[in-house]
């Protein structure tokens, strides 16, 4: 079993909560979200398997290394690399803005948004410049510290007496509604952690075995069930969609009577701080390395890229409010899914030709 691969996929499953996936799914609960999830599972999973299998034919090589042999046509590299890095960058950006918004809302509303953002940004910019293997080690540490505790909170949610299974089943009865594309796109995000292999394949040694995919399938099922249905169980099939952050509100609805902090939401936010930091870092690391792959090693250009990242983030932070961010994310998810299918398809054909 390759644990690094597992971490990358798990990271996306955990960040689901921040990047509006529950919100989108719950919004379409009567309009095809259930069927959408059921479609997204095989879709996301098969994309995951195809891409991972193909890229493992190039052991310990990321996209820049694989395509450096592709030849002299520079546009052939710059165009796809640019598009992919734009998508990974925006993926990180949405989770960063979303989480900073949550933090400001619940922890310190008096603090200016951009200050809070800049603290995160400093950390992220520091991490993305590290070599790929070190980013992975950091990810391992953060996941190691946070995942068990998040699992505990989810366990508490599952065993809570306020979780109404009838509400969950009620949404389940809308199984046969026409699936909605937005729900499919949002739900397939849980499996899309494999896209980070574009760069992180550099440190994955050996072939990926069937075991990996089995674990991912099971985790994905549990994850999608949790993100979608637990808020419905707590806030109702009619009421859950009224919340801006269904999962955060669900965490707020749990009570740990004998813990030092009774309000679970703060524990939840503390755990998610690390997860978000690492998720943004991993995504941006991919974007950064891809852009780096399009030109010759140059410190000035590297700095220029970092400055562009920072400027983009701050501009977005100023212009996007939460409602707008939410709306954009819905469309972003669809674009992401489309591009993902295209990239996996193209890469599949290219790799078949190359290795055959």
């Amino acid at each position: 079993m390759n644990r690094y691969f597992l971490y990358l996929v798990l990271l996306n499953m955990l960040i689901n909560v921040i990047i509006f996936v529950p919100k989108i799914l719950i919004e379409y609960r009567y309009e095809g979200a259930v069927m959408g999830v059921l479609i997204a599972i095989p879709l996301g999973f098969s994309l995951n398997v195809v891409f991972s299998k193909m890229i493992s034919k190039f052991p310990e090589k990321g996209f820049p290394e694989i395509f450096s042999i592709a030849g002299k046509k520079r546009w052939f590299i710059i165009l796809p690399f640019g598009i992919i890095s734009l998508i990974t960058f925006s993926s990180g950006l949405i989770s960063l803005l979303g989480f900073v918004d949550i933090l400001r809302r619940f922890v310190n509303p008096e603090m200016p948004y951009v200050y809070l953002l800049s603290i995160f940004l400093t950390g992220v910019l520091l991490i993305i410049q590290l070599p790929t293997d070190r980013v992975m080690y950091l990810l391992e540490i953060v996941l190691f510290l946070n995942t068990p505790l998040i699992t505990f909170i989810i366990f508490k949610a599952f065993t809570s007496e306020f979780l109404v299974w009838d509400s969950i089943l009620e949404v389940g009865t809308y199984l046969f509604a026409k699936p909605s594309l937005k729900a499919i796109a949002a739900a397939s995000y849980a499996f899309s952690g494999y896209t980070n292999l574009i760069i992180f394949n550099r440190i994955i040694k050996g072939k990926l075995k069937m075991w990996n995919f089995l674990v991912i399938l099971v985790l994905g099922l549990i994850n999608l069930f949790t993100t979608f249905f637990i808020p419905i169980g707590f806030h109702g099939s009619d009421g859950a969609q009224e919340y801006l952050y269904p999962w955060i509100s669900t965490a707020d609805s749990l009570r740990l009577v004998y813990s030092p902090i009774e309000r679970v939401i703060f524990l939840f936010l503390i755990f998610y701080m690390g997860i978000t930091l690492m998720s943004v870092s991993v995504h941006w690391h991919v974007a950064f390395e891809l852009i780096k792959g399009t030109y010759k090693e140059s410190r000035k250009k590297n700095w220029a890229v970092l400055v562009i990242f920072t400027c983009c983030t701050i501009i977005c932070a100023i212009f996007l409010n939460t409602i707008l961010l939410n709306k954009i994310t819905v469309h972003w998810m669809i674009v992401r899914l489309g591009l993902e299918i295209m990239i996996v398809g193209l890469f599949f054909i290219w790799a078949r030709r190359k290795t055959a």
Partner: protein
Amino acid sequence: MKTNGGWKIYSLFLMIAFLVGGCGFKDIDKRLFAVSIGVDLAKDSSKKYLVSLKFAIPSASKEQPNDFYIVSQEADSMSEAVRILKTKVDKEIDFSHAKVIIISEEVAKSRGNAGMYYWFNRRRDIQAITWVAVGKPNAKDILKVKPKSEQVPSNSLFLALGKDGSETPYVIPTYLFDFKYRLIERGIDPILPIIEAKKDYFEINTAGLFNESKMIIHLAPEETKILNFLKSKEEKSSIKVERGKTVIVIDSQMVKAKYKIHTPKGSPPYIKVNVSVKGKLEEASRRVANSQLYQYEKAAEKTLNQEFKNVLKKMQRAGVDPMGFGLRYRSRHFNHDDWEEWKKIYPNITFKVHTKVQITDTGLIE
């Protein structure tokens, strides 16, 4: 390392960022913590609500740790009230420790309060695990009560509602998120405990039942207990049983209720409720021989059957559904107009209650 210079600049920047973060924060000595919120209908005024906040006064000495004061304001909306209340106090009002919301009986019985209920949910600093209760005769009186055993302001209410302190089957505590859930969900209606203010203690043993956003009926103490049994929320209780001239009291250890909605074709629909009770004999007015226990079990079953049925019918007559029968019906039917169907079914449905009582123990005396 190549990026050595960069590291220094970074850490400097990070430190400054952390320092600046402190600027936006108001210290704890500049905050007033509201521990409970009361909402009444305004009297002799053109405004709608009378909002009262109970502030805990943090004091350095241990002599008077439960000092508090109450500030009230009449307003048409919650946010307006809070805004004006800010002008009446010297410090920033902090709701993060507000753990009880009291709604007066009049407010609960009037329509058009959904906006006020939602205000609590909308506020990020009011916990979703705040308890909501109905106050009798009004909310402000509840806030004023200061039980002798109380160590921190409002703490006795937290203990009573949270079941950390006394555990009784006569209290049905409701969290804010659950209250909102039941307000909005079709097929399940809110229940709120009713708190009555006495001179220096509270009495919580009745419950108010809502239909949509309005309180319709309230349950008597015994009925509240029965509803708690049906919800399988509270198991430790006592059940009084009469058989002939003998009165026995069963101390229940385990109560489990399950229900199923049957809608057979051609015959009227019914709800089958199965309740199983396990308990021990706690008190008897006469000597009860072990061989006779069986008969007492039967008598208890008969009494409980009747009591369950009465409560269920009372709720049905009032058109409230705190048990969530409607939701159960919706969740078991795939058609999308199941809610409209249920609204026709519920007023005429019959209840079949089957109780099973087991007396497992008679205490130290046979």
